[in-house]
């Protein structure tokens, strides 16, 4: 960027107006939400070992020394990169394929797939991972047992404790998130670009390779970065699968060293890891910003003939259905297993004989637990407010980043991406330290704040790309008609980006329902939510109870997602 001074330009200032007030409030809110934790992260990384962040004024490089001097750190970084890259690449590829099938072709069952994708996001990765363990663990994984019985062999169908199992299970887990982001991208592509390639001799495959994919690249790239950071952060699957497979990654190491079974967690070390991630993320951010700037250039003349058209699959229809629904089936397997577990009071292997023993006893027991009722109410408050706060903030930030083009807009955009790079545990600790002496502390609202911070990055991505597509004249028309800026946002901009808003809202809703870190760290006696209740059962260990609660969580989410999805699907299909 070269800065050209505005020649002789005086930007008339007329005191406070709605935009400036909103922008100031936004800056303040995002600053507190994001900058606070970032500063505490950096401070904590320089704290001496054995202290809590902000406990002392001393500075020390101990944690950095520990991180970088250990001969294995670089190997772990390597492992992490390989793991994150492969998981992300596989996940994003699958998601792209599925999004293409559901958004650009006439494949039947599109709405069903959309609904399934959303409902999967609600299940904690921990629980899905456990479902997988029940299915394919080398001891008595259900699929392995079946395989041995059917083919009368020894050995395993698929080695659970291996790099590839870890990578593939992670990849499958990131698909729903990536899918939601990519389908928005595909929806907005001018089909004439593909048709032109068809007419000029390109075969179907050539068109996909040389036209569709390259056009998606800038968008995919940014989604890829997002997913990459998300995978680098996860420790659930690397811990339960990767560690046994002797494939340690950075997050497992940090988790083992910083969140021990006893004593004091080593937050300083976790924070150092966070700073490392922040640096990586900044690099990726820079790449991302560049790629979106290229994306701006990609906007070409678009005719009024723009009419998104679905590709008739013809003979490929079975292939597409096969592809999409095999994924859905594979994703459904661990959940089926959980369902099975929840219908038995103690664990038994699935079999026809055991069918007679099924009952809803566990559900009855879980519902009778007084904590569950409170958790249910808290959860509703939590997910609804977090989703709403995130999406409203994101819409406003998105507006400033896409419309004003000013430096402040870009700063907001960058700022909102930062939470992606902070390990959730550190982020939440920072929130503890920031809100400690305020009345929100210990209430459900402090979890709302945590989730609003964590999911802001996603919300802003979603809304920026939606707002970029929106013709400026639509809002200008409202302004000229005499509506104030906020009124124009409320009456024109918001209704027009409503489908994306709802999509994003559901996404945050689901992720907020499933997140464990913040509810656990901020747990007080009054703010228990479904996820923390789930964790307590899991730890106890009450396996059937955990399964039953997961299933109920999913069903509750479906009850919300399905109507919303049917509604948005209507809107999309009827265009």
């Amino acid at each position: 960027m070269t800065d050209v001074p505005v020649q002789g330009g005086v930007k008339p200032a007329t005191g406070w107006n709605q935009q400036k007030i909103t922008l100031s409030i936004l800056l303040l809110v995002v600053g507190i939400l994001v900058l606070g934790p970032v500063l505490i992260l950096i401070r904590a990384s320089f704290a001496p070992a054995g202290t809590m962040p902000l406990e002392t004024w001393q500075f020390s490089l101990e944690h950095y020394r520990e991180l970088f001097n250990s001969p294995t750190t670089w190997k772990l970084v390597g492992n992490t990169m390989v793991y994150a890259l492969f998981s992300m690449a596989i996940g994003v590829s699958i998601a792209t394929g599925m999004a293409w099938c559901t958004e650009r072709t006439n494949m039947p069952g599109r709405s069903l797939v959309r609904i399934l994708m959303f409902s999967w996001m609600a299940v904690p990765a921990l629980v899905v991972g456990f479902g997988w363990i029940l299915l394919i663990n080398p001891g008595n994984g259900f699929l392995n047992v079946l395989y041995r019985e059917l083919f009368a062999v020894r050995g395993v169908l698929f080695p659970l404790y291996s790099f590839w199992a870890l990578t593939i299970i992670t990849a499958f887990a990131v698909v729903p998130t990536a899918y939601v982001m990519i389908s928005g991208l595909l929806r907005n592509m001018d089909p004439q670009l593909e048709q032109a390639a068809r007419v000029h001799g390109g075969r179907a495959w050539t068109v996909i390779r040389h036209i569709t994919l390259p056009l998606l690249v800038p968008g995919l790239f940014s989604i890829g970065i997002y997913m990459f950071m998300a995978v680098v952060q996860t420790f659930d699957l690397p811990l339960i699968i990767g560690l046994t497979a002797r494939f340690p990654v950075l997050s497992t190491r940090v988790y083992l060293l910083s969140s021990p079974d006893n004593g004091l967690p080593n937050y300083g070390f976790a924070a150092t890891f966070g700073v490392l991630l922040l640096v990586i993320a900044l690099g990726l951010m820079w790449a991302y910003m560049r790629s979106t700037r290229v994306g701006e250039k990609f906007r070409v003349v678009s005719g009024k003939a723009f009419r998104p058209r679905r590709i008739a699959l013809g003979g490929w229809k079975p292939v597409a259905i096969g592809f999409v629904f095999s994924y859905c089936l594979v994703m459904a397997l661990p959940l089926m297993m959980l369902l099975w577990v929840s219908l038995n009071t103690t664990f038994v292997m699935p079999s026809f004989d055991a069918l007679s023993g099924l009952s809803l006893d566990v559900y009855r027991r879980v519902i009778a637990n007084p904590v569950i009722m409170r958790a249910a109410i808290n959860t509703i408050v939590l997910v609804v407010t977090s989703a709403t706060v995130v999406m409203v903030l994101s819409t406003l930030i998105g507006w400033f980043t896409t419309r004003s083009g000013s430096r402040i807009g870009r700063a907001l955009d960058a700022l909102s991406f930062a939470p992606m790079a902070i390990p959730p545990i550190v982020l939440v600790l920072a929130i503890v330290l920031i809100y400690l002496r305020t009345p929100v502390y210990g209430t459900i609202w402090v979890i709302v704040i945590a989730h609003s911070t964590v999911f802001l990055a996603f919300g802003v991505r979603t809304m920026s790309s939606a707002l970029i597509q929106l013709h400026t004249e639509l809002q200008d028309a409202a302004l000229v008609s005499g509506a104030s800026w906020l009124t124009s946002l409320r009456t024109v901009v918001l209704p027009l980006v409503w489908p994306q808003f709802v999509n994003g809202w559901l996404w945050v809703f689901a992720h907020s329902a499933r997140d464990l870190t913040a509810p656990l760290m901020l747990l007080s006696t009054t703010n228990v939510v479904a996820a923390s209740a789930l964790w307590n059962m899991w730890q106890f260990p009450d396996l059937p109870g955990t399964a039953a609660l997961s299933i109920m969580l999913m069903l509750a989410l479906l009850a919300i997602v399905v109507p919303f999805q049917i509604y948005t699907a209507r809107r999309l299909e009827s265009r």
């Binding site: 390639a197 007419v199 040389h210 036209i211 390259p214 070409v300």
Partner: protein
């Protein structure tokens, strides 16, 4: 070269809306090397026809033949895919691929098409095509960094580089501004004619159609209304719709007095001799089509009670630059004339007119309601 036979296409209506009959038995033949235009108002099925020919849309029934090959036949269940039809096409939005350079855009049909010549030849052919549209110097420029007119030309070069059998153009000029549109109009026609390629052009602008085409097919609501050379369609409309669509016309309702090519019609301001459309008989309700340009102004001295001569009074003048649109009143009937901007007529002035009989077409009154 291209033979379309009774093409039909219905789009199923979604969510309770009625299905759309986009094409309702369209047949026409395009001669080798012709510049053939599909003209019609918005929604009449032009794009659908073009897309059926391109293979981007499958008709419900009918036949499409290109040269000797049947590329689509509803009854024989033949459907040759788009990329096997050897076509060139320019889209309304140009559809220039923004992630490629100008060179890569133009080279695509060669590199990925069916022929796939060696790279050296590709380079030669692309250079030739770019020279043809005078963009040789921009070969390495990323495609999005071109102006509208340049993108247009790249699209044209891309559509022609692989020597297709047929060039399809879907409203290629509608995204350009008026000035550029004028320039590109002649440019495209000259280019296409110099290459000698058969061209099918889609537009809703009768000026473009008339100025560029060898043959015009005028469509309305999925069917063909009239086919002919621009002169035929413009000067001898067979219906009120054609007359009205092809440019400003005075449509004077009346009753046929005598049929045939030297027929007569009774109109509010008297009797008119003109060419009566076949099928109209004495006594039928009909419309006399008098184009503003068809009217000759007579000096007062000339004015006799000759056939098709009238006096009228100017009611208003509006200056439009190249012409002055003049409303006159002839015996209670309002007519519009286009007068020379340099001639000094005044409102209220009386003028004397002559409508030569061969410039007056008498066509059936339109019974179907006209779309807005």
């Amino acid at each position: 070269m291209l033979k379309i036979d009774s093409l039909r296409k219905v789009f199923p209506g979604s969510e309770g809306r009625a299905p759309t009959k986009a094409l309702d038995g369209v047949s026409f033949t395009v001669e080798e090397g012709a510049f053939f235009t599909l003209l019609g108002p918005s929604g009449c099925g032009k794009t659908t026809t073009l897309q059926c020919i391109a293979g981007l849309e499958a008709p419900d029934s009918g036949t499409i033949r290109m040269g000797d090959t049947v590329v689509f036949s509803g009854s024989e269940r033949i459907l040759i895919p788009s990329n096997k039809r050897r076509l060139g096409m320019v889209f309304q939005s140009y559809a220039i691929w923004p992630h490629m350079s100008v060179f890569d855009n133009v080279a695509f049909p060669l590199v990925h098409g069916s022929r796939r010549p060696p790279m050296a030849e590709v380079r030669r052919e692309v250079a030739k095509a770019l020279e043809m549209v005078e963009l040789g110097h921009l070969s390495d420029r990323p495609a999005p960094m071109l102006s509208g007119g340049q993108q247009q030309r790249v699209a044209l070069a891309r559509a022609l580089v692989h020597q297709p059998r047929l060039l399809l153009l879907d409203e290629p000029l509608s995204n350009l501004d008026a000035k550029l549109r004028d320039t590109m109009r002649t440019e495209i026609r000259n280019l296409v004619k110099s290459v000698g390629i058969t061209t099918l052009f889609v537009t809703h602008d009768q000026v473009e159609a008339v100025g560029m085409s060898d043959q015009i097919v005028l469509m309305r609501g999925g069917s063909i209304v009239q086919q002919g050379t621009p002169r035929e369609i413009y000067l001898h409309p067979n219906s009120v719709f054609t007359a009205d669509f092809m440019g400003r016309s005075n449509l004077v309702p009346g009753r046929v007095m005598a049929g045939g090519s030297t027929g007569r019609i009774e109109v509010p301001f008297g009797e008119l001799a003109g060419t009566v459309a076949s099928g109209l008989q004495a006594g039928d309700r009909a419309v006399a089509v008098i184009r503003p340009q068809a009217v000759e102004l007579l000096s007062e001295a000339d004015s006799t009670s000759r056939e098709n001569c009238f006096s009228a009074r100017i009611t208003s003048l509006s200056f439009l630059g190249d012409v002055v649109e003049t409303e006159i009143d002839a015996g209670g009937q309002k007519l519009v004339l286009m007068l020379n901007p340099y001639a000094g007529y005044e409102p209220g002035q009386e003028i004397f007119l002559h409508v030569p009989a061969d410039r007056c077409a008498i066509v059936p009154a339109d019974t179907t309601e006209q779309s807005q």
